[in-house]
């Protein structure tokens, strides 16, 4: 941000703080929501905290210059960032300075979605919510309040809602993202991949990326380790319909036809098994049902896979042998956002099986066994019990779903079955962009008596809300500890670095106040979040004062590989790696993954693919002026030959129309040799329609809008979203 405009901005800010102080005099002031920069300290101050621009939660050190936020750098002791943040984290200060931030609580004055509001005090807003929630409880039961959230910031609010009696909690991170992957691995090795991923990229000698675009996807530790793998001369194999940045680092690039990854995986395993290249000792020791598996895949030769995938059989053989050569330090990356075609759990299972064949699960350079700290929980009163079941997955329709299915909650909200959902409390997740088929989301919203959105910016879902609660950004608040399982046990603290510029409040404050309004104050026996944090630390024999100063505690190294003495345990029914899965068979599914063809785009249409860019997180960073200065609108990637055929030029604006006739906002063309001719690609998170997001409104096109179709994974309810086709509207 411009030095001048920042100064101007701070002046403005001073103004709003005054207004906020006046407003909050109506609310009993709670200790802990106190101002921290009341006296501007001259010179440089450094305060450790952990980042929230994505879910990786890197520890960082914020710098203040003369009491004003200046910059933020990685925390050198942090195992995740190793002293270096990703560009989003580095640009994180832009979240604090974002002029489009929500500034005070809002209550809707007109129709839902019209974005007409009146500004209210926190007291009014929370009373309003509590009143409605109590009414819902009376009429329908507390179970009829559902919640969606993303990130650690939702913890306190979930606590309040559980105390209230809510039981339906969803996060798009499962059914719209990593769910199939985790279930695929759970079914195979009895454990999930987790977050941060348990991928030992830096030690891998052969790294296989299937649609995973590391480097464009900047999950910090992974990106750092990816560079390390390049430095170590690891053999990189990239499978992607698009020539990604990672592909440019690869020794082998496999330009696969979209939707045929399972065929490739089966062919790879066929080569490895038929040529006896697999890790025989490992498979013998830990495997279950290998014989049936081997028999099942014996027909999937590279020649069989060729017409499906478009990948030369020789290249399939060569890459399979390369993987085998480096076993067990070969990592077939499980990916993260894996909801592609509706058969994603089976694809992830195939990936798990390939890793198992190579002995990579548990090995150095493969998938390690993460370790973590644990602190005793805070002793809260027990939550009320419910007689009702969660309604996201009625009758275990999706038998292997291991977390709640957001789209299941949405479905129940529309149908009112098995029981009605009358309120959504949404924390920091833009459901309009996150869930496929916006119409269904809006239809569900229309059945609600209360939609509350807690967020830092006025996202699209906030636009549909009845009450919007402005949260302070991570640089202005405390949150729970980060104790992510990783290569070394550690935990870190998030603490306020600067004051919020308006009447924004931290989520713990909102949760506690709401609980009090609901008459559930006893669930928050602490007055201030620091008391809570201190209690847990003391229970673990540690000191808050020290952690506040140091930011991160790193524990002693522990073994994380089989080579280091870890004895692997497999949480499958057989207690082994299930090459052949009886439980899948029992549930009516293929016990060994099978390839089924996906629907092809009609003539003149192209498969819509989407992904990330290093400088943005989801749809929540497009008003961060620093990050927008890096990448301010998305483009649609179109193969050069296709562009020539259509007579459309690089940088020209076009519109995309999907198979259901939905037309996108205008979007810039990127004509390129970096993508197959049968698909197009765009960065997710653009094309905002909320007028509250002034800096992002109408910039680029939204893939979410075009994803009207989705294919549900029958195993776990994930929504495959790469099943939409678009054509070009050249008149804009």
């Amino acid at each position: 941000m411009n030095a001048i405009s920042r100064r101007k901005f701070l002046k403005l800010t001073g103004y709003t703080i005054g207004a906020a102080a006046a407003a909050s005099s109506l609310t009993p002031v709670i200790k802990g929501a106190k101002k921290i920069n009341k006296e501007k300290v001259k010179g440089i101050q450094t305060i450790p905290t952990y980042c929230d621009i994505c879910f990786w939660k890197c520890s960082a050190i914020a710098y203040l210059k003369d009491g004003e936020l200046w910059k933020i750098e990685g925390h050198p002791n942090d195992p995740l960032s190793k002293g270096r943040l990703c560009p989003r984290g580095t640009g994180g200060i832009g979240a604090h300075f974002d002029p489009d931030r929500l500034r005070s609580p809002l209550i809707r004055t007109r129709e839902r979605g019209e974005e007409k509001w009146k500004e209210v005090t926190w007291d009014e807003a929370l009373s309003y919510i509590a009143k409605k929630m109590n009414k819902i409880k009376e009429q329908y039961g507390a179970e009829s309040v559902a919640s969606f959230s993303h990130g650690i910031g939702g913890n306190f609010l979930k606590h309040t809602l559980k105390a209230y009696g809510a039981i339906n909690f969803g996060a798009p991170s499962f059914a719209q993202c990593r769910g199939p992957r985790d279930v695929g691995f759970e079914l195979t090795v009895g454990d999930s991949i987790g977050s941060p991923e348990r991928t030992d990229i830096e030690n891998s000698k052969c790294l296989v990326l299937i649609g995973s675009h590391l480097g464009e996807n900047m999950h910090n530790s992974q990106a750092q380790e990816f560079a390390k793998a390049i430095e170590n001369d690891a053999t990189i194999i990239v499978v992607d319909p698009r020539f990604s940045t990672a592909a440019s680092k690869a020794k082998y690039y496999l330009p696969i036809k979209p939707g045929t990854d399972i065929a490739l995986l089966l062919a790879w395993m066929n080569v490895i098994v038929s040529e006896k290249l697999y890790n025989i000792d490992y498979v013998t020791k830990y495997g279950f049902g290998f014989e049936q598996f081997a028999a099942e895949i014996s027909s999937y030769t590279p020649e069989w896979a060729y017409p499906e995938t478009g990948i030369d059989p020789d290249l399939i053989r060569k890459t399979a042998r390369t993987m085998a050569m480096y076993k067990p330090a070969t990592l077939v990356h499980p990916g993260r956002h894996t909801t592609w075609y509706g058969d994603d759990t089976q694809r992830s299972r195939a990936i798990a099986l390939l890793n198992a064949l190579l002995g990579s699960w548990g090995s150095k350079g493969g998938l390690f066994f993460p370790v973590s700290y644990s602190l005793p929980p805070y002793p809260y009163p027990a939550y009320p019990t419910s007689t009702k079941e969660k309604l996201d997955n009625p009758g275990k329709k999706y038998p292997f779903a291991s977390e709640e299915i957001t789209t299941g909650i949405r479905e129940a909200t529309i149908t009112g079955k098995p029981y009605p959902i009358k309120s959504w409390i949404v924390y920091s997740t833009n459901l309009i962009f996150a869930l496929p088929n916006i119409d269904e989301t809006i239809k569900a919203i229309q059945n609600l008596d209360l939609l509350v959105v807690v967020d830092t910016i006025g996202s699209e879902i906030a636009g549909w809300a009845d009450v919007v609660l402005p949260e302070s950004v991570y640089l202005e608040r405390h949150d729970d500890f980060n104790m992510s399982p990783f290569k070394q046990p550690f935990f870190s603290i998030r603490q306020p670095v600067v004051d919020p510029p308006g009447d924004q409040k931290p989520n713990w404050w909102i949760a506690k106040k709401l609980a009090e309004k609901l008459g559930l104050g006893n669930y928050f026996p602490w007055n201030d979040v620091e008391e809570y944090l201190d209690y847990r630390l003391k229970a673990g024999g540690l000191s808050l004062a020290k952690l506040k100063k140091e930011g991160v505690f790193v524990g002693e190294k522990k073994p994380i590989y089989i080579e280091e003495g870890v004895v692997p345990e497999f949480g499958t029914p057989s207690g082994k790696i299930e090459f052949y899965s009886p439980q899948l068979l029992q549930a009516g599914f293929d016990p060994v993954p099978k390839f089924t063809k996906v629907e092809e785009p009609p003539t003149g249409y192209f498969r819509l693919l989407y992904g990330r860019i290093p400088v943005h997180s989801f749809s929540r960073t497009q008003t961060n002026r620093i990050l927008m200065d890096m990448y301010g609108e998305n483009e649609v990637w179109v193969n050069q030959d296709i562009a020539d055929k259509w007579g459309i030029k690089n940088d020209q604006y076009i519109k995309l129309k999907n198979q259901d006739g939905v037309i996108s906002n205008k979007v810039k063309l990127k004509t390129t040799e970096r993508i197959r001719p049968d698909c197009v690609y765009m960065i997710h998170g653009f094309g905002h329609t909320s007028k509250m997001l002034k800096g992002a409104y109408g910039k680029g096109a939204s893939d979410s809008e075009l994803i009207t179709r989705y294919k549900t994974d029958p195993l776990m309810g994930g929504t495959g979203m790469n099943v939409n086709f678009v054509t070009f509207e050249t008149e804009v």
Binding site: M630, Y631, Q640, K670, T672, E673, R674
Partner: protein
């Protein structure tokens, strides 16, 4: 197939350089025109023909002063840090054409004023009788007049050449990076100045003489343009690309129509007919020459900024 993408988006730089808009080409044109005027005037002073060629020697200096001041103001308008303009005169940097240009301009003024003093305006004579003394003083000394002629020619030459060097010193811009550019701007300045006299001179002989001179300058200018283009076309790939900006690229239409055809060839034909008494002298041809010269500066400045090395956006 080569795709280039850049995340840079600096104003005045991206997508292509446009640091200089109308101010600089106008200034370069005026600099050339004044240079031409000084040389022509200086030449007639030196050859002691200032009485017969009176328009050149007596009227041009004042016009030069006015026009040059407009040019300087235009240059000033271009500066982004205007309050610091005085910094130009705290140093002389030999390597910087801009710096010695600033100093040349400082020297140009007294030299033109010396010429001007030979025939000051009536109201000045009335108001400042001392000026008349100076005028008389100069007129009594033919050697001084010749010397004034010499310094006018020298500084005019420097000024004219400098307007080209300002651009041609930029190794980064292939189109400009040719020393022939200075000659081109000098010749174009001379032709513009001659055309100007041709247009305003009352004296028939003077008009005829300058029209003939202008015809020679125009032919020379055509030749120099050809040299410039041939020079570029026989150098590297980037220079060829630069030349093609004018020959068949985005600036070709303006270049061929306004500079070559309407700015040189057509007025040349008209003036040739006029000096051969086939048609009457009219201001049409001189105006075309002058406008052609102005457009030449615009095209060279704009196309030059557009021209760049290939692998950098």
């Amino acid at each position: 197939m080569l795709e280039l993408t850049t995340t840079r988006h600096n104003p005045m730089i991206d997508p292509s350089l446009h640091v200089w808009s109308w101010e600089i080409p106008l200034y370069l044109f005026i600099g050339g025109l004044v240079a031409g005027m000084m040389i022509i005037s200086g030449y007639f002073l030196f050859s002691k023909r200032y009485k017969e060629i009176d328009c050149v020697c007596y009227s041009l200096p004042l016009i030069s002063l006015i026009v040059l001041s407009i040019g300087m103001f235009s240059l000033f308008l271009d500066l982004e840090h205007k309050l610091f303009v005085w910094r130009l005169y705290t140093t002389l940097k030999i390597s910087s054409p801009m710096s010695w240009g600033a100093w040349i301009l400082i020297l140009v003024y007294p030299v033109i004023i010396a010429n001007f003093l030979m025939n000051p305006l009536k109201f000045i004579e009335v108001k400042f009788p001392q000026i008349t003394k100076l005028t008389t003083f100069i007129h009594q000394r033919p050697r001084l007049i010749q010397n004034i002629g010499i310094v006018n020619m020298i500084l005019g030459g420097m000024l004219g050449i400098y307007t080209g060097v300002l651009l041609s010193a930029m190794g980064s811009r292939p189109l400009w990076n040719s020393s022939i550019l200075s000659i081109l701007f000098l010749v174009s300045g001379l032709s513009g100045a001659a055309a100007f006299v041709h247009m305003i001179a009352q004296n028939v002989k003077e008009r005829e003489l300058l029209a003939k001179a202008d015809n020679s300058f125009l032919i020379l200018e055509l030749f120099v343009i050809m040299l410039l283009l041939v020079g570029l076309l026989t150098t590297s790939k980037v220079h060829i690309a630069a030349a093609r900006l004018l020959l068949d690229g985005p600036f070709a239409a303006q270049f061929w129509v306004f500079v070559i055809f309407l700015g040189i060839i057509v007025p040349l034909i008209i003036q040739l007919l006029a000096v051969n008494h086939k048609i009457k002298h009219t201001p049409v041809a001189p105006v075309m020459v002058i406008i052609g010269g102005l457009i030449l500066r615009f095209i060279i400045v704009y196309a030059g900024q557009f021209s760049k090395y290939l692998n950098v956006l």
